[in-house]
Symmetry: C2
Subunit: 206 residues, 2 copies
DNA sequence: ATCCGCAAGTGGTCTGACCACGCTGTATAT
DNA sequence: ATATACAGCGTGGTCAGACCACTTGCGGAT
């Protein structure tokens, strides 16, 4: 009933139509979508209804609007969503601990997935890259791990949680290069137990 | 720059003020928030700007508005958000597999957390509850596991992903009661390896 | 070639009007 | 005393129109 009521709202219909339009036109992040006035005309709805729809998906981080320029598609990396959700959800200190724990679980899951992927050559290749670095960026390291895992959803969850972690302005400790290399070596050895142990050492959980 | 521009938008400021208002008034899910016209007056902004803000957080699933009745706070279970995000993010069949895999990872993580909690008595208590059931609801079972884990973020991620899974209308297989009981027994035994093995049998991954 | 002004198109905010719905209180009928 | 109907009020929903601020592109002047 309630969800039916919501789905009957014009702004929801507009969001759906915008979505279809993006699909049909094959728009990619960075591309411009039709202007408010054009959407209003095309969809035969009021401009303020169009604006309501656009505001909604802008807050989701799906588009961005720039005065005088237009409305652009963006990666579905909801930094605004993260910020706003944080104020509703993250309301106590315990949640910060949960956040940290959860990020670590996602990271360990990611490593387990990599083990299943059997792509030693890619890991080895990345190891060479890491070896010549002076410092290893923790974010870049795990971004690469997410890529190697090839599970888009884990990647997305990790990005959202990580951005969130950043937004509550908690400084994440960087670890030493040998610790990152140890994780990569364990991945290539293929032993899950070893991988998790090295990860825990990286995160100083042991 | 872009995020600065966004944060300067009136509707974003309105969202923030609504958030603060909810906090200060101690509003809970189900409670009514001030009407559009009242918010417009109180915040000294146009009603359409208020509506833009409300539309945005309604789409996030944080509030719901009912014509003739008002605007109500709801659990931050973004079913609409899930639906809409799905059309932007879940665009291929591989993602469905990722979704399933990720839910399973979250569930295993949850079980690992429970192992750390050392609450055998609660597990035992729940086991008694399960034993007298004819059928075990998979959702209820894992909802209970999430509760026992006491990690609100894992719980939230699981709920969102699970709702999402449901929304793409994939039927999740229910398992037999002995399988659920086996997981609970392994939890009480305290052996992580055993727990994960039983879980995998439950999910028919072995 | 460069600079500047202007026009056009964009988004941002607002006011006001009107409609549809739901709730509540009151009047009326039984 | 009770049930029903209706009016009023407050709510959300949609829209038109006005006006402002910003960006970009183009044409003309230097």
């Amino acid at each position: 009933m309630n969800s039916e009521a919501v789905s009957k709202k014009i702004y929801i219909e507009i969001v759906k139509k915008i979505r279809m339009m993006i699909d049909e036109d094959g728009l990619k992040p960075g591309d411009k979508i039709p202007s408010e006035r054009e959407l209003s005309e095309r969809l035969q709805v009021g401009r303020s209804s169009v604006r309501e729809a656009l505001r909604a998906i802008e807050l989701l981080g799906l588009i961005e609007t720039r005065r005088g320029e237009g409305t652009f598609l963006r990666d579905a990396r909801g930094n605004q969503m993260v910020q706003l959700l944080s104020t509703f959800i993250l309301q106590d200190q315990k949640a910060v601990k949960d956040l940290k724990d959860t990020i670590q679980f996602i990271e360990m899951d990611c490593l387990r997935v990599i083990l299943q992927r059997n792509n030693d050559h890619k890991i080895a290749h990345y190891r060479q890259t890491v070896e010549v670095l002076d410092d290893v960026s923790d974010d870049e390291f795990f971004l690469k791990m997410m890529e190697l895992a090839n599970n888009h959803l884990l990647y997305r969850i990790w990005v959202v949680l990580n951005d969130f972690y950043r937004s509550v302005d908690l400084k994440k400790e960087a670890s030493s290069k040998p610790a990152y290399l140890a994780v990569l070596d364990a991945l290539m050895a293929g032993e899950e137990k070893e991988v998790i142990e090295k990860y825990k050492r990286l995160r100083k959980l042991l």
